[in-house]
Symmetry: C2
């Protein structure tokens, strides 16, 4: 990757691994210090949070890879201490199902639930190698012709720490919004990786599906688009190297919209699919 560090970080020994690592407190209960490094305008990124919950469930369940994980976002998470409580719903030979919730202490000293997830885990390495994918990889210009989020004439107000930790190279044809000329199409495409060069794994895929600017920007909406619910299917262990992420919105109506993400790996495999329901909050 063009901007990767000269020494690439390894899976298990990288910024992303350290910042999503959960510590077992007692059976099924994990502590985590949510890093301020994965925020955008002060809000902790939803994909980072999903990776944290995903790692807790990988420890609590007999299977280690998220196959399908659904998250409902309840209240806004803050950087700082949090606790993840897991519940094993069912264990099976091929799949196990678990539930997890992330809690934080609010300013009044009350424990508040931030996110609840339900997920089924398996072993991606055990899957047969058959592929009958009819979907085609997104066409994104070469990295050199794409743009960093920091290249925007109007950088995100309040700063966004997360962009320092990501390798994002946005397709210029989905960047009309940054020049004040949104295309009107609900599309966003980008190359995706981790800035320290760590290769992708299933947990990085949970991050990838929620890391691009909202498609709503290209629909001419400049407000906040908080996620209500996000479901990710991880379909294959990603090959090393940069990912391509394509996000599409086809139904903006009634103040809500869906964002469908596809994540393709360097071997041209569709390694993850996601859909989220988000609310449109117009800026005042």
């Amino acid at each position: 990757m063009a901007e990767a560090a000269s020494v690439r970080a390894a899976i298990g020994d990288s910024e992303f691994d350290r910042d999503t690592a959960v510590t077992l407190r007692e059976p099924g209960v994990y502590d985590i210090d949510l890093s301020a490094g994965w925020t955008i305008i002060g809000a902790v990124n939803g994909g980072y949070l999903l990776a944290v919950l995903g790692r807790a469930l990988a420890d609590a369940l007999p299977h280690g890879d998220p196959f399908t994980i659904s998250a409902h976002y309840l209240t806004a998470s803050q950087p700082g201490p949090a606790v993840v409580r897991t519940d094993v719903v069912r264990t099976g030979r091929t799949l196990s199902t678990g539930q997890a919730s992330l809690f934080q202490i609010d300013e009044d000293g009350n424990e508040v639930e931030r996110i609840r997830v339900l997920a089924s885990y398996g072993d991606l390495g055990s899957l047969p190698d058959d592929v009958r994918t009819t979907a085609k990889p997104p066409v994104i210009p070469p990295v050199e012709q794409c743009f960093d989020p920091q290249d925007a004439p109007d950088p995100v107000p309040g700063g966004s720490a997360i962009t320092d930790r990501l390798f994002l190279k946005l397709d210029p044809t989905t960047l009309g919004w940054a020049l004040g000329a949104p295309s009107g199409k609900g599309e966003m495409r980008s190359w995706f990786g981790l800035a320290d060069g760590r290769d992708p794994d299933p947990f990085a895929l949970l991050l990838a599906v929620d890391a691009l600017p909202p498609t709503a920007f290209e629909l001419g909406i400049s407000g906040w688009v908080p996620t209500v619910e996000l479901t990710v299917h991880v379909r294959s262990w990603p090959a090393p190297g940069p990912l391509r992420v394509s996000i599409t919105t086809r139904n903006l109506a009634g103040g809500f919209l869906e964002e469908d993400a596809e994540v393709w790996d360097s071997a041209d495999r569709l390694v993850a699919q996601s859909r989220q329901l988000a609310r449109v909050k117009l800026s005042g």
Copy 2:
């Protein structure tokens, strides 16, 4: 609708309403007798089960309409008594989030969890009327040129009670499988309604997304395709009249596939979107 009963059933007073009605046993706990009328080859239909859980949550939460509901299917449900336990996760002004599980007693007298769902509810009637949908309704031939599932030369072995309760008129271009010549495309399209003429509501949409033959049939797979996880977004209260359902599979790989459903109402609105992850179990 062509085959509707001469007197159309009304919402609240129909077969579907009676068969999904839950009875409050104690706060948050509901009894239901799962009807054998919504089975296919003996298995209770996943969309019918989702409607049952959806109705329990509508009672338990302060909001009545499912906006996004995610179900993980754990074990196969049987017709007969079941209990639904609900948990209010968070109540808000616009959205409330709840969890529900359906349990049955197995042959050994143990209580077994069949399905667990996580859902956020709101009030569809309160949504603004803005629509900026870029998706287009599926093109399905007129009802008279479409086919009942019963028209297949090889009717489903073991019978399928559910088809008697549905108004399904399948697009002949997605019925190659029924003639032994699957198209190789992961597509299935149909007109959809309830056989007694009851108009659709949000709970009928939960049924609609999982009522067509599996797209896997058109991919040449004749085995069983059990749902692992199903998430439905209900985006609008459906207009009266028949619905059009379009299901697409783009990624059959590693023994799993996704099914994406779109449900369009008679007013050409995209009223529901769903995605499920299903397992391919080849018949022996």
